[in-house]
Chain length 389, copies 2
């Protein structure tokens, strides 16, 4: 990997400089691309009924409001690192293809918020809550929540269908399409599999050795949630998609996938720690919220497993009492934190993050990544695994 | 249209005859194709986790258990009528492409059953009920219904994603793909728009002239539900898809679409009548169930509109009291039926069915449809609009 730091910067102040480089505005260009696409589809929704166009507007607002655009960013740099030319004729189709990932993400979030019964996302009402409120304000017939849930299911479906359309209409050449499509297909299955497995683990199904093939199965299952719900879908497959679009050789694809799987799992493990130990002023979430929601993270499963293996019944009880208790107070959060430390789970998770970050970066460093993508990917990896929010 | 009746029949008894003709086993071939596809994807789900493969098996069972395969059948005959050769090299890709419609239908039904909170479909538990039961039987953590709902959302998503994959992997040539893909895209948007509009109408949003642009807007909105949720998605777009796969000329496409839109709406209007007046011994549903569920069908909206226009307050009250009353008894069903008759809504719906069937068949008859597709499509149209179940 070339660790160059060249990456063209923004024009220096004073006179208007040359047009900014595509590489410097990946997020802005992704947002413009997906917004334009949704605007175009809105006309079609209007043909069905103005009320449906109004619902599609809520989806568009949701997409516009949100997030770090991590998936398209990883995919873009995957494409660039495999030789994609940001000034060449393939750049626009590649940008459209990677932007379509934001629509898959919209489906995942809208449906996940419904599954988790979350009321807000980034300070705004979630989609099912928005339509529940609209129903109530308009004094419509039937239960408002049922209407809100129905619309959220359908708008999530619409986002998933339109994601596929956006990829199909990206203007990829036949060869790029044939390389990219199987990656796209695998990614969606893995994402949905990861979401399924998350629900399955939250229900405690992983606790039963008969279901998981032996003790420790719950840790393994929680790791697979990280692997598929987060790593594959957020880092590994987006990079793979970018590589496939550019026609990367198998060595680079393998390096990207190793890097993506390791950094993606490390990213999720960092998230698990922040969910229990994060500073609410930085994370924007109340301290210990993951405990109240009863999240069966790798951190929690490691602790429970250690408590069982070493017969530490009181720490086991502290944790199981805290998990899923919506009224857990600050004292309860503190006691659970102490148990996680005492059982060695925090240290173990930090060790895993360090190991995964190291092995992921090693895979990338050994690969032939076209500049400046290598530098950018290393930066992204550090941001993902060291962050405090 | 050639109204020939040639269509090769099954071999006569006695010695084993020649292999049956593809045209004679469309339903069986669609079922075998989609089953094989799901079996192949199962291996991928297994890679995520055996529990996810188990969930995918429930989806496969659901697809296997179900239905008349109307959409692939219309699409197949659309393709044949546009010159598709059942013995040519394009037949297998066309069969795969039209079979993918069954996976869209699986998504629509799984999510629709959840939206409608339906417990059974064709005598079996619906998908969300199945997973609710599994959660309860296994004594897992958290509310069982929430787990069941979550898995149904995710399996519906999986069906939608796999439908797209199945079309993309059907082995269509570049030209067929380019013609078919926009039809596929429009169909999914229309289907989801129709489902959205159905929820919107059920909530009574169409009653408000301010939302619908004037009186009569509720009838218009209910008609648009028929148009998009049923007609476009069940008949018009499947025929259009088949035509596009075969490279039909614009005249045939226009005739198919007119036929499909008219017959499809007539099909739904027949369904609306059966939902209130059907013989439970034939329909398999309790008499008047559509009333108890509060369905705002065209039949119901026509009656409510007539009552309002002619100031028949008592019949209006009989209907509004019946709609959505889960405890509505046989006497209440009878009174609602009488009101629907007295307000002229039943006659009006029968008139519309007759008119739509006539205009739909006229459009088909005027077109150049390759034999034996014309005959088959006429038979399908009669079955759809005259049926008693």
């Amino acid at each position: 990997m070339s660790l160059d730091t060249a990456g063209p910067g923004a024009p220096a102040g004073g006179r208007p400089g040359p047009a900014p480089e595509p590489d410097d505005q990946v997020v802005a260009r992704v947002e413009a691309t997906v917004t334009a696409y949704l605007q175009r589809r809105r006309a079609e929704a209007e043909q069905v009924h103005p009320a449906f166009a109004g619902a599609a507007d809520v989806l568009a607002d949701f997409v516009r409001a949100g997030g770090k655009r991590l998936r398209p960013t990883f995919a873009w740099w995957g494409w660039r690192g495999a030789g994609g030319d940001p000034h060449g004729p393939d750049a626009e189709p590649a940008l459209s293809a990677v932007s379509a990932l934001e629509l898959i993400q919209a489906c995942a979030l809208v449906h996940d918020d419904l599954i988790d019964a979350s009321d807000t996302r980034r300070g705004r009402p979630t989609v099912h809550v928005e339509f529940t409120d609209r129903h109530r304000r308009a004094g419509l017939a039937g239960p408002s929540a049922r209407y809100g849930d129905a619309v959220a299911i359908l708008l999530g479906d619409l986002a998933l269908a339109w994601a596929d359309d956006m990829l199909a209409e990206a203007g990829l050449g036949g060869a790029a399409w044939s390389r990219a499509r199987p990656v796209w297909s695998a990614m969606r299955t893995e994402m949905l599999g990861g979401q399924f497995l998350d629900s399955w683990c939250q229900a405690g199904a992983g606790d039963d050795p008969a279901r998981t093939g032996g003790p420790g199965g719950a840790i393994e299952a929680a790791l697979r949630v990280c692997r598929f719900k987060t790593a594959a879908y957020t880092v590994e497959r987006p990079l793979h998609l970018g590589a496939a679009l550019a026609g990367a050789d198998p060595d680079l694809v393998a390096a990207y996938r190793r890097f993506g799987a390791d950094i993606g799992v490390a990213f999720q493990l960092r998230d698990d720690l922040l969910g229990v130990f994060g500073d609410p002023g930085v994370t924007g979430k109340p301290a210990g919220d993951d405990l109240r929601e009863g999240k069966r993270t790798v951190l929690v499963e490691l602790a429970l497993d250690a408590a069982r293996r070493t017969g530490r019944a009181s720490e086991h009880a502290v944790l199981t009492d805290a998990l899923g208790d919506p009224l857990l107070d600050a004292g309860g959060v503190d006691r659970a934190r102490e148990a996680l430390h005492a059982l060695g789970a925090v240290d173990e998770v930090e060790r895993r993050i360090a190991r995964l970050t190291e092995s992921g970066l090693a895979a990338l460093t050994a690969a032939q990544v076209a500049p400046p993508a290598g530098t950018r990917l290393v930066e992204l990896a550090h941001t993902a695994t060291r962050r405090s929010s």
